[in-house]
Amino acid sequence: MLKVEGLNVHYGERPILKDISFEAQRGQILGVIGPNGAGKTTLIRALSGVLPLRSGAMHVNGKDLRRMSEQERARLVAVVPQARNLPPAFTGREMVQMGRTHYLNWLGQLSVRDNQRVLQAMQRSSTLELADRRMGDLSGGEQQRLLLARALAQEAPLLLLDEPTTHLDLQYQIGLLDAVRDLVDRDGLTVVMTLHDLNLVSRYADRLCLLVEGRIQALGTPEEVLDPALLSQVYHVPLQRMRASEGGRPIILPTVL
């Protein structure tokens, strides 16, 4: 579905992403992990088409993301950014309506179909009760859910999430990720998501990509990538692996010395 080959991104002369290649399958969540500064957010930005690439190719369903207008790309790729510095004056509904930008004419008028999609996206993300509230009056968790709704309104098959659970309380972290999992399972979306919480990622991702200093260090199932020896070396702290239950998902914890 998403195929990335030999991606190189520089900020100025400084290489940030080096020779990144991976694939993400339909109906799966690819979790991107790695220490701070590894290039996780840069990867999301590059995939969303807002960064110039040094080299490399990105295809969604065989279509070249580099040779596309913003409108065409927004139909294939939707981004859930971190909820920061959002304009406070818009209501929840107005915010989700912006997810339809690539379908609108210059007047910015929404058709009946546009409004249906907005309503649907808000239902799927449980944000209907936020429709008439102003962004400035909402909590970080509520804003993050509206950002998810906005991305869903884009009707794109590929969803990119950049640390969607940062600043959220635990119940909202679980709530948001449950919603994402549900979308992937029911609607067959493809998700690429950065998360710094290894245990959340272990719970929700089908495959993991470990980025270290702009390179892919490991790529595979959570079982393969969440290897205590590998992670201890990458994060520079001794880590150990436990199990959520007998034969269940791996849990990574700092070793008690």
Binding site: V50, P81, P87, A89, L107
Partner: protein, 341 residues
């Protein structure tokens, strides 16, 4: 969004009142009764009495064209102010702060000192020169302020102020060295409408109407811009294209307003802020309501300018600055309790 008062009835009523005052008040006051009699006579083609004939002349050769010109200028300045604020995501961006008005002023004064005003050609050449000046200023300010593809607020303001001062200094210099046009240019610079009659109205109308038309339909794009350029791009907005179109339209409008009505400050800053403060930040509403409100406000300021020191007329720019600055500060203090931007 629910609001106690609906925006369009309020601003339209305000505009109607302002127009009525503007045509009636001046060195000769036209009573409202006579006003309607003259209008009715004109419409039905009936001959007028001796007394009304004088009113007719004042109304159609002086008051109406002036009212139209001031309304166009107010609409243009408020509309372009709202657009610049939306585009740069900066509450302080207005035609003056980003230097566009000063650039337009410099262009216009260059054309005026070349002696072009007296001819009909001047009606075309002055706004054209102002438009070139305005676009050149935006371009220079952008080149100075941008970091990569974004324009940080502080850079924008600093570059805008610097370029604006430079253009103003050049304008002053040109005025000092020119001879015949000095008085006229001075009045114009202080925001006095130096031109009268219908020709300037007809000359300004197409620029302002086209420019404002483009801005009004850009409301949704400006809404998306509020999330920042990166998110706008991710949401499928052709960012470069929108920015180019909005800057060109807003600069065209500013240039036309400046070349025909003089340099009038604060309208572009204050009006969109009032609108946003009362009715929220949706640019599909902020733009048209600011445009109507700007016309009304500048007309009222112009009425004040005519009566305060009658029979002498003050340049309307002095009124807008004198009334606008304190009002703006008051608004700023009140707004602290409430994030309306």
């Amino acid at each position: 969004m629910k609001h106690a008062v609906r925006p369009y009835p309020v601003v339209l009523l305000l505009l109607a009142a302002a127009i009525l005052l503007s045509v009636a008040v001046g060195s000769v006051f036209i009573p409202f009764g006579s006003l309607f009699e003259v209008l009715a006579a004109r419409l039905s083609g009936r001959p007028l009495s001796q007394a009304l004939q004088a009113y007719d002349t004042i109304l159609f050769s002086l008051r109406l064209p002036r009212t139209a010109l001031i309304a166009l200028a107010g609409a243009g300045l408020a509309g372009s102010g709202a657009a610049y604020q939306g585009l740069f995501r900066n509450p302080l961006a207005d035609p003056y702060l980003v230097g566009v008005a000063s650039g337009a002023g410099l262009g216009a004064i260059l054309a005026m000192t070349a002696g072009l005003t007296a001819t009909f050609l001047g009606l075309v050449a002055v706004p054209a020169a102002a438009f070139v000046g305005a676009l050149l200023t935006v371009w220079i300010v952008y080149q100075l302020a941008h970091v990569g593809r974004s324009v940080p607020t502080t850079n924008l303001i600093l570059a805008g102020v610097a370029v604006s001062s430079f253009a103003s200094a050049l304008t002053s210099f040109l005025m000092l060295t020119s001879t015949g046009e000095l008085r006229r240019a001075l009045v114009w610079l202080m925001g006095g409408s130096a031109m009268s009659g219908w020709p300037p109205v007809l000359a300004a109308l197409p620029y302002i109407a086209i420019g404002l038309g483009v801005l009004v339909i850009s409301g949704h794009s400006l809404n998306v811009f509020q999330f920042g350029e990166e998110q706008a791009r991710q949401l499928g907005l052709p960012v470069e294209q929108v920015r180019l179109i909005v800057v060109a339209a807003a600069s065209l409008v500013t240039a036309a307003a400046v070349s025909f009505a003089g340099i009038i400050g604060f309208v572009g800053l204050v009006v969109p802020h009032i609108v946003r403060f009362v009715w929220g930040g949706d640019y599909r509403l902020v733009l048209p309501v600011s445009i109507i409100g700007g016309a009304a406000l500048l007309l009222l300021a112009d009425v004040l300018a005519r009566v305060l020191m009658a029979p002498q007329e003050l340049p309307v720019g002095i009124i807008t600055a004198l009334a606008g600055a304190p009002f703006f500060l008051w608004l700023l203090r009140r707004a602290r309790q409430q994030a309306f931007w």
